[in-house]
Symmetry: C2
Subunit: 388 residues, 2 copies
């Protein structure tokens, strides 16, 4: 029995820390950016592209994989790792957010949530228990619990309270379901769950919208449950940066320090640095690959919209400070030409760059936290990247 | 001064032969399949994908590159090789076919052809002379002459005769234009043009539609001109296989044996084998990458339409006999999932396979020609691949 998470350094001037999360597929160094492989594929990329960009953990999605290719097929194919030829770690989102945002129809009951597939309208039921089962079939390394997610932009406190109440009851059921599937786990008296190498990890999801008191309540409740880590859900959905920062702090101040915290769906460089400062360890976001397919690159000098005519004759790389595959091989002129010519290769090369950009950001943050200079780096990068 | 083409073996039972074509960027082993990088990019792929698939020469297109990024920009960027990070050989099509097929408007005069860009309707003039200049700016290794191409499915002999007459006059002008740009060339008394390493090569285009007498006339005329090789244009455009074979033979029987013959726009495996039997050395086609993007793979057991439900649970590669990147890493189940999920990665992985399939076909053909077993291989593969 080992603790799956080891904190390796703490910043003296903020809540930022570095750590290593051990999964069935190896070490994940935190703070970490996890590229999003929604459908067992990061759009336009392969496992080799991700490995070369320095990715250690991918995010995939139970809702999508359940509908296609189906979790039964994934199990039959030996799990998501062998299916997509990826030997790093995989975290699966429970599907709570997708059930909320994708189907035309959904109904939340105590038992679970019924919904219609956004592909063909077929009806399905997700419960806290069967989602754990699906994640087991997927074979991901980190499983998350089914939650009720409401959009954070302008929620009523009544709705947020209702959603949190169900999420708390479902979390208790999910933890029990996990114990049945993974019986060798060991819960110490401090509720610090340990794990046997070879088992998948369980992360709880903390809701509470933009209400610090609800966020605190959610955090304290999750601390009472046997989990290996915490997801902060229901943010980065349109709230202000102040609301986001306040909500995050209300969570991280009340969590067990020894467990990793994952901010679901974040983010931009500035948002990630702000969250690291408040003690967040893990991030994912579709944004860097989505904007890449629209021709936008994050660079050390700000945004580059590669479609702009000014880049037609620039021989320098997208970002002269970058070491990614794209920047080592191709000029802005070529990338501009590919985008303007609607070549699919553009999407791959731009996506590789943006993912590498965020992974390098986490690498620099880790080095700064270890050196006690995180806040200086943060101030410098927030100024540099404020327009990204 | 060296001859750029060396015939390394001849099949005793057919006109098939193997050879090496030396360009500014190295050796091209024939028979060769050239992937099509119309816009300085093979759709969905990078230079590394092509290198890994065994490609030695790419085809790009003067018409497309002239309009975008423009040949001036290509020259400014150091030519197409440095632009697209490709260090193998590049042949450029003159644009005659594209001027015929893409713009809404074109007018052929003695001077050249005026046309409107299919992008923005702007007017342009291609002449035999300026096309050679554009190819020089592009920096390709093998230049082709401007020709007049008519569709071969059901042409009148009158139209074919008219097109051939202009093509012949333009070829003479193109050869003179080449001599001005590349003065160090040496034309021997047998009209066997030699080249200095470092110079680009000139290929003439033989037209004549489906009329063997016109094809013979075109071939004999081209033999009288100083060129390093011959393109067979205006075929694979809807004519029957018999018409195609007869036209090819009327050309190759009348060409200088010592120069390479390139069948423009071919082909399928069976078409390529038929043309090799008749003495053709070089091929290109967009078809393998186009069908790849529709989910179709050529395999040793016939076509695989990867979207079909039967592949959802097949753990074997697309083609268990294939050594390509895709077949070494991914199952049919994963590729089926990617295609059904509309993942862009599908296009890349399927394209890599189809290109490698045709390159392996040329490799096997070369070995068989060297061993004197080409006709056996051809019969075997025509039977095996008749439905591809």
């Amino acid at each position: 029995m080992l603790s799956p998470f080891v904190i390796t350094s703490k910043d003296p001037h903020s809540k930022a820390r570095t750590g290593i999360l051990y999964t069935r597929h190896g070490a994940v160094h935190t703070p970490v950016f996890m590229p999003v492989a929604t459908q067992a594929c990061v759009k336009a990329l392969t496992d080799e592209d991700l490995k070369n960009a320095g990715a250690e953990c991918l995010l995939s999605n139970t809702y999508h994989l359940y509908l296609r290719p189906t979790t039964q097929i994934l199990k039959q194919m030996g799990g998501i790792h062998s299916f997509m030829h990826w030997d790093g770690s995989v975290l699966t989102d429970s599907g709570g957010f997708q059930v909320y945002s994708l189907p035309k129809f959904r109904k939340i009951k105590e038992e679970g949530v019924t919904f219609q597939s956004h592909h063909d309208g077929s009806k399905h039921l997700f419960t806290p228990e069967n989602v754990i089962g699906f994640e087991s079939e997927i074979g991901s390394d980190i499983w998350t619990m089914l939650d009720v997610c409401i959009h954070a932009k302008d929620p009523s406190k009544h709705d947020a309270r209702e959603a949190l109440n169900i999420t708390k009851r479902w979390a208790e059921r999910a933890a029990k379901a996990y114990e049945k599937i993974v019986p060798e786990q060991h819960i110490s008296k401090e509720n610090d769950i340990r794990f046997s190498v070879g088992n998948s990890l369980l992360f709880g999801i903390i809701q509470g919208a933009i209400f610090p008191d609800l966020r605190k309540e959610a955090a304290l409740h999750m601390v009472s449950l046997p989990t290996h880590g915490y997801c902060i859900g229901g943010l980065s959905l349109g709230e202000t940066l102040e609301q986001m920062n306040e909500s995050v702090l209300a969570v991280t101040e009340n969590l067990a320090e020894a467990k990793p915290r994952y901010f679901m769906g974040l983010g931009t460089p500035v948002e990630m640095l702000n969250a690291m400062e408040r003690g967040v360890d893990m991030f994912d976001c579709v944004w860097p690959t989505r904007v890449a397919r629209n021709g936008m690159a994050m660079t050390s000098t700000g945004r580059v919209n590669i479609k702009n005519a000014v880049y037609r004759t620039q021989e320098i790389p997208l970002d002269p400070e970058c070491d990614c595959y794209t920047c080592r091989r191709y000029s802005r002129a070529y990338l501009c030409h590919l985008y303007r010519s609607a070549e699919l290769t553009s999407h791959r090369l731009m996506s590789i760059h943006n993912i590498r950009f965020l992974i390098r950001l986490t690498q620099r943050a880790r080095a700064a936290i270890e050196n006690g200079t995180f806040m200086q780096l943060k101030e410098e990068l927030v100024e540099k990247y404020k327009n990204i």
